[in-house]
């Protein structure tokens, strides 16, 4: 269970999050949508324990993350897996060492078991037999799959995805969405996806929350969001720009006055 209460964050006195309230239940698949620069990734990074809030509370399984220092956050981070926007694979390591990274660091399993776990995880993301490749030899979609395998290998209870389909062609994006869904159901993990890709949002989420001006504007099931009467939500999910919306509004006003 993740509880976020009145979370605020500013960067160089520019407010990004201005009192976010959000509860995420275990095994839920939440998609956070919102315009570019609205603070979706910043919110995700707070949940991952990578950013400290200016004020507010963020609890995971009842434990407040906000007063914890870098080292004290590590036990909580072991419960969380993160897929970064650019996958953030370690350039100097091959695929095997990238995927096995957390297991090699923990040093609880022997090398044969680690090799087996890596092979299983690569099979789960459809990348079997790629252990020896360097990140530079992989395409964008392949990098995301490896990033996903790396994040999932220590069996986290919560998976965070930062724009998982950005920069991918529609077919690869579809396969990544299916993979996220499959892994969420197969490993029964709480899934939080940050995206502005509505196809991805409808496909992956069983709840969608929209972040607007640093706050959660609406939250609900995908069909509730589609039927939401709020014009900001409607404009966003149908890809109507602010200029087009303003023009449409003025045309409507002119028509009603004549």
């Amino acid at each position: 269970m993740i509880e976020i209460q009145q979370l605020c964050k500013s960067f160089k006195s520019v407010p990004v999050l201005q009192g976010v309230d959000l509860d995420i239940a275990d095994s839920e698949r939440l998609v956070i949508i919102g315009g570019s620069g609205c603070g979706k990734s910043v919110l995700l990074r707070h949940i991952a324990g990578l950013v400290k809030p200016d004020s507010g509370r963020l609890k995971i399984d009842g434990q407040d993350l906000t007063p914890l220092n870098e080292r004290a956050l590590n036990p909580i981070r072991r419960k969380i897996g993160v897929l970064f926007q650019g996958a953030a694979l370690f350039d100097s390591l091959d695929v095997f060492h990238n995927v096995a990274f957390s297991l090699l660091e923990e040093r609880t399993l022997g090398m044969p078991e680690i090799r087996q776990r890596v092979a299983e995880m690569l099979a789960a993301v459809g990348m079997s037999g790629q252990e020896g490749k360097k990140p530079a030899e992989l395409s964008g979609g392949m990098r995301k799959r490896i990033g996903l395998a790396r994040a999932l290998i220590h069996r986290p209870r919560i998976m965070l995805y930062d724009e998982p389909t950005t920069g991918l062609d529609p077919q690869i994006a579809d396969s990544i969405n299916r993979l996220i869904l499959k892994l969420a159901l197969e490993f029964n993990v709480t899934t939080i996806v940050v995206t502005h890709d509505m196809v991805s949002a409808y496909m992956v989420g069983n709840r969608i929350a929209m972040l607007h001006k640093g706050k959660i504007l609406v939250s609900g099931a995908p069909d509730q969001i589609q039927q939401c009467s709020n014009p900001i939500v409607q404009n966003f999910i149908h890809g109507v720009s602010e200029e087009a919306a303003a023009m449409k509004m003025s045309r409507r006003e002119n028509a009603s006055s004549t």
Partner: protein
């Protein structure tokens, strides 16, 4: 006038903040060394990158510094018929000042730049965040192995540089400048003692901390893509070099009280 004081104040505050950040990184690194396991594989890779790969450039620099210093010393000493004092002058200068300073500046330029660029690139491509998300402290994984490797490598590189410089200065003095070898070596052994070498090695021990902390700090604070990495790399080399020169003066003054020349 107000604008001047505002600018000066901002500069002072920025400098104090910078010193504070480097001090915090140093504290974190020592804490990591004391409480966390050392990553031996990373440390060995860094020993190779810092020590082995710096060896050719350091030896070449030491050789030419030794030769040119021998020649310049001879040209002046020859005027007062003190040709055979060239040996001790070269060996003491190399052991106490030139060897440590030149080696540290070469390593700061070669390795400090690489550290800032590598860590800076990791920072801007979210690899450092990925490390943190995998419950690994970046200081444990990135800074501690580099610190150990530098503390081992730099004194050894300096010793090799000084030895090469002395050998090359001997060759130039005997073969080119015509100084008598027996007197040259006799005077060198007579006036050069272990304290000269110890002074130099103590100083490079201090310089190794400066190079690692300044360069890693610049990498870790890097922002703004490729331009930011370039800026961090340049600043790492400039700041390390200036800090080494300043620290060298104070270390020389302090060590002269503890180990009299």
């Amino acid at each position: 006038m107000t604008a001047f004081f505002e600018m000066a104040g901002r500069g002072v505050l920025g400098f104090v903040q910078y010193l504070g950040e480097v001090a915090l990184l140093s504290g974190d690194s020592f804490k990591s060394l004391a409480t966390q396991r050392l990553r031996w594989k990373e440390t060995v890779l860094q020993l190779h990158a810092i020590g082995v790969k710096s060896l050719p450039v350091v030896l070449l620099t030491g050789a030419f510094i030794g030769m040119v210093f021998a020649a310049q010393t001879y040209f002046q000493f020859h005027k007062v018929r003190m040709d055979t004092s060239t040996g001790p002058a070269v060996s003491i200068a190399l052991a106490r000042e030139l060897g440590p300073i030149i080696t540290s500046l070469m390593v700061a330029g070669r390795v400090g730049a690489a550290m800032a660029a590598e860590i800076g690139t990791m920072r801007v491509t979210e690899q450092i965040d990925a490390l943190r998300s995998l419950a690994v402290h970046p200081v444990d994984y990135l800074v501690a192995p580099r610190l150990i490797a530098m503390v081992i490598s730099l004194p050894l590189l300096t010793a090799m540089s000084v030895l090469t410089g002395i050998c090359c200065s001997w060759v130039v003095s005997i073969e080119v400048l015509g100084i008598d070898s027996a007197y040259y070596l006799h005077n060198m052994y007579k006036y050069t003692d272990a304290n000269d070498i110890n002074t130099g090695l103590i100083k490079v021990f201090l310089f190794s901390f400066i190079i690692v902390f300044v360069s890693c700090h610049k990498g870790m604070q890097c922002e703004g893509g490729a331009e930011g990495v370039g800026k961090a790399t340049t600043e790492a080399v400039v700041n390390s070099s200036i800090s080494i020169l300043i620290a060298n003066f104070f270390a020389t003054m302090l060590l002269s009280k503890i180990i009299p020349p």
